[in-house]
Amino acid sequence: MLALSLTAAAEDATPAPQTPSIFSFSGFGTIGVVQTNTDAGVYTTGTQYYGATKSADFGPDTKMGAQVDAKFNDMFSATVQVFSKQNAVGSYAPDIEWAFVKAKLGDGFDIRLGRIGAPFFMTSDFRNVGYTNTTVRTPVDVYAAVPVRYFDGGDVLYQHSFGDTILNAQLWGGSSSTLVGQDTTIWLHNIIGVNVSLDTGPVVFRIGRMQTRLNADGSGLAAFDGLLSSLSAIGAAPGLGSLGDLSSALSLDDKFATFTGIGATLDVGHWVGSAEITKRQTESWYVSDTRGWYATLGYRVSTFTPYVSLSGRNTDSPTSATAPAVPSYLPPQIQGAVPVLIGAVNGLLGDESEKTVAIGTRWDAGKNYDVKAEIQRISVPAGSSGAFSQIAGGRFASDTDVTVFSLCLDFVF
């Protein structure tokens, strides 16, 4: 009773609404540890340098972000987000992940300009916020296909409700770059993309498509560029034209690329689920054509959500090259160089096919954090590297099954 009257007094004492600050601050993060049952390859969640083997590693999943939102008035707002996650050279140096201004134009239209999350996937916008996912991480078989997290440019957002269905559409354009190795950057120029989703409440459908022109730069490409020019030079010799064609096929210079995704999420009663299929196509053999898919289904029991997830990916572009027959009248230097060059090409043409079965659970242990545990069985066919890096010889020589254990804590504030 005393407590009640105190609360009432406190409520009465609340001063008249003061002008709220235009700024709001929020943040998120994941502390995650991963271990596998093999030392034959290193498990990462994309292009990261350090990952898990039989030795547990915090590298694949640990990440942290902080965000400031400013609302200037009913029309204009701005968002800046700083994000840190291990990158392709093993550094956690934070990136400016978002930095945009947004204007509400009315009639359901918004426009944003600046640095914006690149919406390749269904959950692109918040894929790094572990707390928003049922699973430990978005399935690597699909989400590793595009390491690009943001773009510089603008987008137009449109929202319209009819009945209880909400239509969301997004038209986006600009350019982007991402570090894929030591001093090696891949550029995406002239991006234009569109995403449409239909939200019926329990089920959301989404389709997205984008196209871009690829380029690459950085001193890390010296060996790659050297290989291409050697192929072109030797390809000029009679009978060896296929080497010249190989050089053009591998080149990243101004190559056209597209990315398409179709997906759906389910959230009804105790059930949560999501599924997505994606296709990456490029004119360069070096950035392979891939298809990825996943389906995840979870069932909420109190604060626990056990789940099962199946996923896989295939490489559709050539994963190896064969040496042309060298005419016997050509000099021995050329006779010797051709197999060496083809060997180097085969070192670059990767097959990343694999299939994954994962079971795990999310536990909503507190008001703004969760704990997740997961066991994955990844099956990599012979000749593929799957999600693994630093394999002796670049790919697994025989069909290989790897078990991956993950444990993480996600939080938001």
Binding site: T7, A10, E11, D12, T14, A16, P17, P20, S24, S26, F28, G65, Q67, D69, K71, D74, T79, Q81, W98, F100, K102, K104, R112, I116, G117, T123, D125, F126, N128, V129, Y131, T132, Q159, S161, D164, I166, D199, G201, G269, T303, D364, K367, N368, D370, V412
Partner: protein, 141 residues
């Protein structure tokens, strides 16, 4: 056995008490132009899926204090979600720069004060707290 029956009666009484307490009214200021809403429309607003008030402008959302019984009841009955699911839904919007979650008010008196001050502000209070300063857009039993 007698004991069990007593326990059951007690539980039933508690459930009854809970539901009579749990009548929630979704309210705007008495002078607001906003019109009656369905459960799905209120759910979409408070999960950040839409932001327009029917007949009004862009909604300004108010929440009851975190962990309060009325907040739990409101989200359970209107959205079918618990607090951590709602937190997760808003995190998706916040960390993609697409929305800001409802501001937390100190209680029903505070919500009545704030909705009276801005015609686009919307909140939810106990049905018993409804008075002439507010317009009820939806009642949830």
């Amino acid at each position: 056995m007698k004991h069990l029956v007593k326990v059951l009666i007690f539980c039933a009484a508690m459930v009854g008490a809970q539901s009579s307490f749990a009548q929630v009214a979704v309210v705007v200021g008495a002078k607001s132009d906003a019109t009656a809403m369905t459960v799905d429309q209120v759910s979409a607003l408070f999960l950040g899926k839409s932001e327009k008030l029917p007949g009004g402008g862009t909604a300004v959302l108010l929440d009851q204090p975190s962990g309060s019984a009325i907040r739990t009841t409101f989200y359970d009955k209107v959205t079918g979600k618990n607090e951590s699911q709602v937190k997760s839904a808003w995190s998706r919007l916040v960390f993609s720069g697409k929305g800001t979650p409802p501001k937390e008010a100190s209680g029903s008196a505070d919500i009545k004060k704030q909705v009276a001050a801005n015609p686009n502000t919307i909140g939810y209070i106990e049905k018993s707290a409804v008075d002439s300063s507010v317009k009820v857009l939806l009642s949830v039993d």
